[in-house]
């Protein structure tokens, strides 16, 4: 089974990469982009029977740094 983890910088944490992307979009003529936040997606191929709680434990321990990042888990 698969799980997909989305990791994003928390609100209030400046995302300079997202800001650079926003500026680049503006320079290309894409007006009206008020903000860009860049995160990452991590796909896990898991043994059958793995639970969302298992993946959350992986996020807490390694996949996300909860000082600066939040995460969401999608199973299946």
């Amino acid at each position: 089974m698969k799980a997909r983890v989305h990791v994003m910088l928390k609100n209030g944490v400046l995302d300079p990469q997202g800001e650079a992307v926003r500026h680049a979009l503006g320079a290309l003529g894409f007006d009206g982009v008020h903000g860009v936040r860049q995160g990452k997606v991590i796909e896990l191929d898991l043994e059958d029977g793995a639970t969302e709680a298992d993946v959350a434990a992986m996020c807490e321990k390694l996949l996300a740094n909860t000082v600066i990042e939040s995460y969401t888990v999608e199973m299946g």
């Binding site: 910088l9 209030g12 944490v13 300079p16 990469q17 390694l62 740094n65 000082v67």
Partner: protein, 222 residues
């Protein structure tokens, strides 16, 4: 003083750090990331700069979960001394031995230059060779040195005199200009600038020497 320098795949300042410790009179043991024990009798552990594990996932994140880091945490829990420089600071925040995190530089660029650092406190074995308020010149070389912590943690660090160094002209967006911080017991220091790269006249500066000499003085006497 007996110092252990931890080496991860991708560390590149381990030798420089060992040389700086030795120049101050220390005996140095190198410790590999897969080792599980810190050699007996080690007074201080150095986590060097570099790009441990290629900076994959987050800078320092994989190193922080390597076998040796459990022993580093145990050493710190026993009241042992630890210094983490650059990537080593990132590792120490990822292990939770120091609060906060190091984000991508605000200007997005890797910065490699000598910067002015203000010594904020002389009340630690790392900084007692300086006077509070001294401005020293130390090189930085990082892409992710933008110190971040929430406002409560910043206020606590400042209130408890745990900000060791601030930038005189912040190059990376670091909150409250923070370049280096101390743990609650003042025995763990993390800093982005590289004192080991300003520890010999041939480096072009010797302002980092006082840190290693003070450590050697304090830990040899102890």
């Amino acid at each position: 003083m007996h110092a252990a320098v931890v080496v991860f795949p991708g560390s590149n300042c381990d030798r420089d750090l060992a040389v700086a410790f030795e120049a101050a009179g220390a005996r140095v043991s190198k410790v590999w990331h897969k080792d599980t024990e810190i050699p007996a009798g080690v007074d201080i552990i150095g986590i060097p700069g570099g790009f441990s594990f290629g900076d994959y996932l987050r800078c320092g994140a994989i190193a922080a979960n390597s076998p040796i880091c459990r022993s580093v945490a145990a050493h710190a829990a026993r009241g042992g001394y630890v210094i983490g420089i650059c990537n080593g600071f990132q590792v120490l925040t990822e292990t939770g031995l120091l609060p906060g995190a190091l984000l991508r530089n605000a200007g997005l660029k890797y910065i490699c230059k000598t910067v002015g650092l203000k010594v904020e406190t002389s009340a630690s074995v790392f900084t007692e060779g300086y006077n509070a308020g001294d401005v020293i010149d130390i090189p930085i070389a990082h892409h992710d040195g933008n110190y971040f912590a929430d406002d409560d943690i910043i206020a606590r660090l400042q209130g408890e005199d745990r900000v060791a160094f601030t930038y005189t002209d912040t190059p990376n967006g670091a909150k409250a200009d923070i370049a280096g911080i101390l743990s609650e017991n003042r025995r763990v220091l993390g800093m982005m600038p590289h004192p080991e790269r300003a520890a010999d006249a041939v480096h072009g500066g010797t302002d980092g020497q006082a840190l290693f000499r003070a450590l050697a003085g304090a830990l040899t006497a102890a």
